[in-house]
Amino acid sequence: MGRQDLENLRGFFQKYKASVMDSWFESILSNYPPEAARIIKREKDPFTNPVGYNLRLGMEGILNWFAGEANQQDVLVSLDKIIRIRAVQDFPPSQTVIVLISFKQIVEKQMTKEFRNQDLLWKNWRLFDEEIDRLMLEAMDIYAECREKLSQIKVDEANKRVFSLLRKANVLVDCSEESEVSSSCSDSCNSCEIEKKEGCKNEFTS
């Protein structure tokens, strides 16, 4: 794909950023009950309406990236904003990442109107399609990371809740210095003198 093609695609997104944004936001809002969608759409204060604010911020970031106004790292941060919220809301996994498919469909409609020349349309679409598929894979990674984080939180919480008691019972192991503990001790880890150190997840040991 040549430089000129990339410029074309960027130009397209610069031109239609606002209208694509509006349609895309509407499509996301349709996932929420109408009473909530009204508030998510209307309220502009970022602290009164964090969901609407962060969704918008994430979507703008993705559009900016396609418009050539943001870098690779920024687009992942933007994607994270959207997926992190939806990963804990009432959606199955497919519906969490569906925001990108909605985006794709909205862009497709707009692109078909914009590029009457089939060759030009195909070139732009292919370039966009490749990137959006890549973003989709990134979105899956972020989603999985969010869900794994929730599982880890449950484990950490169970340990932290009774941290003193676990420590008293000598059932904590300092994972950051695991090798040191095992090399200096002929018995099981439970009999070692254990201190809480930075980075330790307070995990149980057998």
Binding site: S27, S30, N31, Y32, P33, P34, E35, A36, A37, I39, I40, E43, D45, P46, F47, T48, N49, P50, V51, Y53, N54, R84, I85, V88, Q89, D90, S94, Q95, I98, I101, S102, Q105, C146, K149, L150, I153, K154, D156, E157, A158, K160, R161, V162, F163, S164, L165, R167, K168, E195, K196, K197, E198, N202
Partner: protein, 540 residues
């Protein structure tokens, strides 16, 4: 492969929300958004009705045969007893001022989490049974019949309210939605419909003395271990006493402060402070819990647990009670104790033995909040502090709901923080003080099975923390509630990685220059993290 849906079909209209009125919108018990049903052994221990093994996902909840009668009679009794409830049932005009103020609604987008709609779940039954318009016009007057589905819906949504009372700040009529939740939970309790997490904590507290159910000798051992840590860090041995008769002050903290990470560092801060000022105090292994999960079960249960603290104060013959950084303990003490178990005539009006300040505001309850006590000490210049020892922290303060909205404790913790830290940044105005956002896990909802809902509910708070993290580099979220100290770390972990959570007295403990430390220079803070080079003498 043919069974895989096409991408097009996934974004088809079938995933759009139904256009049904909220009143008829279905709900489902989905994992992560509801609390487990109560274990029968706790019912037996607490003498509560209908002990049985059950799950909210069961079709049959095994309610008593005459459940409807019990519930309606319970509601009638409470309408007669609490005038406020009658007013709250009648006065709401559904203006919507509270609609977007609930953290659970903001995070989830579920309309039934709008405070006025959540209250409608109860109001609709009230109208049907106790108002003429509701009896005659039914649905047209916003009334509906009481069915088992309604009971299930109550359980789902009234345990998606943290009783934080943010909505009541914005209600032009002053309707306290938390009071409605409290009544609804109490009514459910009449049928034996409770959550396991809450009832287990109450049962432990009632029988053993604290939510975790730790017996006296383990409490002493655990606190002794914290004293060892203090000695390692400061070189000073603090020696708290337990169940000592004749002490001037009984100190009661939430049990999370001596068992849970990071609460233990706050507890170390308390102990260091008391040692430094030579306070004549004792801890109790019987009243070893400040928190009161009874508030989340019923008025009766809240009264039972609160009475324990005062019974112990009487038994030990102390003059007054000092309370730690706790949330709902303070709501119960400040708003209910006086008419429930008070006035505590057998105690004296608290007077600080160090400054002579008489805490007139506690004339009836005889219980002083530790941030009031400590800020008074600082105001009178009784403490030597080195705020540079907290220089590695850029601190913000989360107003814990109950001390903030149920007590008006806004300035005292800030005054302490500003004296013990050099980097303090406020979160945006509409997320602090009386408008503070809940941690999303209060009122007995800080359990694992409810985690997704907690993440949704805590998002508004986390969002404000993220703002100060990005703007000022904030890395420490301080608070004055043990539930916050338990619930905010996972919330930060998910939404704002890099921000830790602490109590105000942990920061104080770090900055406190103890006389007995002599010339010794501290190498670490209370968490065992090396102190940054502060340059020159530490004890300014």
């Amino acid at each position: 492969m043919s069974s895989l849906p096409k991408a097009d079909s996934l974004v088809s209209k079938k995933f759009k929300m139904p256009k049904k009125n909220w009143f008829n919108a279905p709900f489902e018990f989905k994992k992560g958004t509801y609390n487990y049903g109560s274990n029968p052994k706790h019912h037996v221990a607490l003498d509560l009705p209908n002990p049985r093994n059950w799950s909210p996902e069961d079709q049959d909840w095994q309610l008593p045969e005459n459940w409807k009668e019990i519930l309606l009679e319970g509601l009638r009794e409470r309408l007669d007893k609490y005038r406020s409830l009658k007013i709250f049932m009648d006065v709401c005009v559904r203006c919507g001022a509270c609609a977007d103020k609930c953290h659970f609604f903001i995070g989830s987008g579920d309309p039934k989490n709008m405070p006025f709609l959540r209250a409608e779940l109860l109001r609709s039954i009230y109208r049907r049974e106790y108002t003429k318009a509701g009896k005659i016009m039914g649905k047209l007057a916003g009334a509906r019949d009481l069915t088992e589905e309604v009971v299930k819906e109550w359980f789902y949504y009234f345990f998606q309210c943290t009783e934080c009372r943010r909505c009541s700040v914005f209600c032009p009529f002053g309707i306290d939605t938390a009071e409605i939740t409290i009544i609804a939970r109490e009514l459910l309790g009449l049928l034996g419909v409770n959550t396991d997490w809450t009832l287990a904590s109450v049962s432990n507290c009632f029988r053993v003395g604290n939510h975790v159910g730790i017996p006296p000798h383990a409490i002493v051992d655990t606190i002794d271990m914290l004293c060892d840590d203090i000695e390692d860090i400061t070189g000073v041995r603090v020696n708290p006493t337990f169940n000592r008769k004749g002490a001037e002050v009984l100190f009661i903290a939430p049990s999370g402060d001596f068992f849970a990470d990071p609460g233990i560092y706050t507890f170390m801060g308390y102990l260091m402070l008391f040692h430094e000022i030579g306070l004549d105090y004792t801890l109790s292994t019987y009243a070893s819990e400040g928190g009161n999960f009874g508030l989340f079960v019923s008025h009766e249960m809240m009264k039972r647990l609160n009475a324990k603290m005062y019974a112990e104060a009487k038994r030990l013959g102390v003059k007054w009670i000092l309370g730690g950084e706790c949330g709902h303990m303070w709501r119960v003490v400040n708003q209910y104790m006086d008419t429930m178990n008070g006035p505590a005539d057998f105690l004296e009006v608290p007077v600080s033995p160090i400054t002579g300040t008489r805490f007139e505001n506690t004339k009836s309850t005889k219980m002083v909040h530790i941030t009031e006590f400590t800020s008074d000490l600082i105001k009178h210049n009784k403490l030597k502090l080195d705020p540079r020892r907290n220089d590695q922290y850029k601190v913000t303060f989360h107003d814990s709901c109950n001390p903030a909205r149920a007590m008006g404790i806004f300035e005292e913790p800030r005054y302490i923080i500003k004296n013990v830290c050099r980097n303090f940044y406020e979160m945006p105005e509409n997320t602090i003080r009386e408008k503070t956002f809940c941690c999303g896990s209060g009122s007995g909802l800080n359990n694992d099975e409810f985690l997704e809902m907690r993440m949704r509910g805590g998002f508004p708070r986390a969002n404000a923390v993220k703002y100060v993290q990005e703007k000022h580099g904030v890395n420490m979220l301080s608070c004055i509630c043990a539930l916050d100290r338990a619930a905010l770390p996972p919330l930060m972990d998910y939404w704002v990685p890099g921000v830790e959570v602490c109590g105000v007295h942990e920061l104080l403990g770090n900055a406190l220059v103890m006389k007995d430390e002599g010339d010794r220079v501290r190498e670490t803070n209370l968490r065992g993290e090396p102190l940054e080079e502060v340059g020159g003498e530490q004890d300014v």
